[in-house]
Amino acid sequence: MSAFFVDALQQYGYPVLWLVVFCAAAGAPISGSLLLFAAGAFAALDDFKIFILFPVALSAAVLGDNLGYFIGRRVGVALIGWLEKQKRFRFITPQAMERGRAYFRRRAGWTIFITRFLIVVLGGPVNIVAGLELYPYPNFLFWDISGQILSVIISLGLGFLFARSWEEAAAVFGSISSLALALLVALFLFTVLVRRIRQRRTARRASIVEVEVIEPLQPQHGPAKPNTGSMLIPD
């Protein structure tokens, strides 16, 4: 697939680059950054002009992201509304949607920014989710353009610098991106686990304190009974 796009890039030039980057940014399962690496390399080998490549790639990426955002905003919202009415999925409720919206808004800026240049594979889905969660458009545009400027500079720059081995440079960048994603997910799981363990401990302590408070208050008539309260205390 990538060989086909690289051949097309050499043959037809900037329009192919624009189209592929636009489709990749809109969420199509093709690698736009790989083609940017190739374009940077070809620019170093005198087949393209780097100062034309930059605006071409940036405009394509930003417009593709906007298309994804508006698909999420127009189609996604309507779809979720319809699913809410249908009540086919238990987890799609107005409360759950509101919680999700609030959660996304707290982290949306950085999420949009990072998925432009580091975890590129999540760029398309994040655009759709941003639209779906009705994230304010000016904020989306700001983070999107900032991230895409960095993304285009990194991809074209590395391609230009390592023109002779751009494929290997792209592979290194892709591996680093995968590693970052895996680390992020691992960190998230670790945080959730630690939080759960802490909640569990707090609940245990609370139950122990409750037992200790209740026991002295109990009136002791007649012979002493065995302490059944201690049964509640876990090991």
Binding site: A3, Q10, Q11, A171, P234
Partner: protein, 165 residues
């Protein structure tokens, strides 16, 4: 006492975390290998190793990187209209010629090695970034002699050797 559901959730979370740590290790190894491969490719390119020719390269790029005249390579591949096919990659040239791209690459590798044998003044000791302008060409490139071109037939000297397909 914890509810059994809570314990199961915690267990699943631990399992997921372990799985994710395994994926992190695997991608870290992958990254290390990619970096190694990148270094090896760069070293091979700096020594002028012809095994680094790739299917995405055009004749112009191969000529530039391995310091061989473009006309010579076009002639070797029997490309009649090099100006038209200037932006054709080796992949595209191979499909036009209806032959595997590896075979085309092999032909080019032989041609470059033959050219080097014939023109042993070639110096590959100083690695180059591919120069984009003629005036910025390094001394190493300037010392490369041009292949002998017979003016009457417009063909290269037979000493260069043109591999058969």
């Amino acid at each position: 006492m914890d509810a059994p559901g809570e314990r199961i959730k915690l267990g699943l979370l631990c399992l997921l975390l372990l799985l994710m740590l395994g994926i992190v290790c695997s991608t870290a190894v992958g990254t290390y290998r990619a970096v190694r491969s990148f270094q090896q490719q760069n070293n091979a390119l700096e020594t002028g190793d012809v095994s680094t020719i790739r299917s995405w390269m055009t004749i112009h790029v191969v000529a530039h990187l391995y310091r061989v005249p473009e006309d010579y390579l076009s002639h070797t591949l029997s490309v009649s209209n090099p100006d038209v096919l200037r932006h054709s990659t080796l992949n595209q040239l191979a499909s036009k010629k209806k032959q595997p791209v590896n075979r085309l690459i092999q032909t080019l590798q032989h041609a470059i090695l033959d050219y080097r044998k014939t023109h042993h003044a070639l110096s590959l000791s100083s690695p180059l970034r591919p120069s984009r302008h003629g005036s910025k060409t390094s001394h190493a490139v300037k010392t490369v002699p041009k292949p002998v071109l017979h003016s009457d037939t417009k063909s290269y000297s037979s000493t260069i050797g043109r591999p058969d397909y």
